[in-house]
């Protein structure tokens, strides 16, 4: 039976920064903020599915911004999430060409979050392209790269779960996969540029 953990703002931020028990932290965000934030989307031309999609992206953005120390903590988590959710949705409306009068609202709303966050949100479409690119990698490549770069597993730990002769063979495979993905990403210079700006890498 799952024990439902409750967090204070600072405790939650610390857990996300340190990547501790992320599942519980994400579940907490859903339980406490999903309904409230989904209302905004549904009251502004969105439906339930839109609200769910936007909230998912809000959570991804929130976690990455916290881990990049881009959340300064001068607003509550609730306010910050609301700003991301709102901007992501207005951006999506704009993308769908339904902005119209909302265009003005969008431009105004953008001012409520800093430039870097806006850029992150604006990179949404690029990240959708990334999903397609990742699907072009084989399952084996995807699994190795995620295990090493996202789950932070050592080569030895990965070797235990995959069928490779030895550590060196696995290492070579990982390098090839990384290079392959790099080439897929940089094949479209515009995409690479947007992603760099959106994800603030290298900082």
């Amino acid at each position: 039976m799952e024990v439902i953990k409750n967090y204070g703002d600072e405790e939650l931020l610390q857990a996300i920064r340190d990547d501790i028990n992320m599942d519980a932290a994400m579940r907490y965000l859903y339980r406490n903020y999903f309904e409230g934030l989904s209302i905004y989307v549904q009251q502004n031309q969105g439906n339930r599915q839109d609200a769910e999609d936007i909230f998912q992206e809000t959570i991804v953005a929130f976690i990455q911004l916290v881990q990049q120390n881009r959340f300064r903590g001068d607003a509550s988590i609730k306010t910050f999430l609301f700003a991301i959710n709102k901007n992501t949705w207005l951006n999506e409306l704009k993308r769908r060409g339904r902005a119209g009068v909302r265009e003005a609202k969008f431009e105004t709303a953008k001012e409520t979050v800093d430039e870097g966050i806006s850029m992150y949100i604006a990179g949404r479409e690029s990240r959708i392209q990334v999903l397609e690119i990742m699907d072009k990698l084989g399952e084996g490549c995807k699994k190795i790269l995620l295990a090493f770069y996202y789950e932070n597993l050592s080569m030895k730990e990965i070797l235990n779960t995959m069928n490779y002769e030895n550590d060196q063979v696995l290492r070579n495979k990982k390098h090839k996969c990384l290079k392959q993905l790099e080439q897929l990403l940089t094949a479209d210079p515009a995409l690479a540029k947007t992603l760099k700006a959106a994800l603030q890498y290298g900082q």
Binding site: Y30, R31, Y149, H175, K179, L185, T186, A192, Y201
Partner: protein, 252 residues
């Protein structure tokens, strides 16, 4: 292995934090003078970031599915078996009945039951009375003390005068004298085989006993009135009232 591949290999090891400090320093120096190599490192850093972003998106997506199921799951209907439900209803009824009984038990008192029943006897309703004497006049004027005084001065009071005197005593809460006079009247009727004011006397005698909280004596009289459909006061004594009297008697 050509030079490009070697550089890529070194850059990936640098990205993964696998180079020694000296190797890293040498690479950084090289990067400062090699734009193409720096560009490749930037691309690898971007690629790593994209992988992390993808991993996180996949993770959130998994949590999202689970949370949507959890948050939209309908509340489990409470299924109760029929016997269990009947027992619950029965228990509820018993509890309510118990509470009602407790309330009645606490609320019942001689004063309450007396006030529920008592209405002052009206001379105008006196049946068969033609003698509008002084006692009756005083009683009509609600001068109970005067009624008693006149009664005491009367050498041979009639049944009517005796009854009115008993009523006056009852009004003045002189219950012993009221009871004595009502009883005397009833005994005389019995002895002479008459029924002058007999029903009235029985009813007010019962009330006198009740007011005095002698329920063991009041109860048989009220029961007799309740059981006798021809009794003048039969309609005034309901089964419910009799039950409350029994409760009071039990309480006493």
């Amino acid at each position: 292995m050509d030079n490009n591949n070697t550089n890529t290999e070194r850059l990936i090891r640098y990205l993964d934090g696998e180079l020694s400090e000296a190797e890293s320093e040498a690479l950084r120096t090289e990067l400062a003078n090699n734009t193409a190599m720096q560009q490749e490192l930037d691309n690898l850093v971007l690629t790593k970031g994209v992988i992390r972003n993808y991993g996180l998106s996949q993770k959130v997506s998994g949590i999202h599915q689970a949370m949507m199921l959890e948050m939209t799951a309908p509340a489990k209907p409470v299924v109760r078996s029929l016997p269990k439900m009947m027992m619950r209803i029965a228990a509820a009824i018993i509890i309510l009945a118990g509470l009602f009984g407790l309330y009645q038990y606490l609320a019942v008192s001689p004063g309450n039951l007396y006030n529920d029943q008592y209405t002052a006897y009206q001379v105008a309703t006196m049946r068969g009375t033609t003698n509008a004497g002084n006692i009756e006049k005083a009683y009509s004027e609600k001068k109970d003390d005067q009624v008693i005084l006149l009664y005491r001065q009367t050498a041979n009071p009639t049944a009517n005068e005796q009854f009115l005197a008993a009523q006056a005593y009852l009004n003045l809460s002189n219950l012993n004298n009221a009871i004595m006079l009502f009883n005397t009247l009833l005994e005389k009727n019995k002895a002479t085989n008459t029924d002058t004011l007999n029903d009235d006397a029985e009813y007010y005698l019962a009330l006198s006993y009740l007011k005095k909280n002698e329920t063991t004596k009041a109860l048989p009289l009220f029961k007799k009135i309740h059981d006798d459909k021809d009794h003048l006061y039969h309609d005034k004594i309901s089964s419910w009232y009799l039950s409350k009297l029994k409760l009071l008697n039990w309480k006493n």
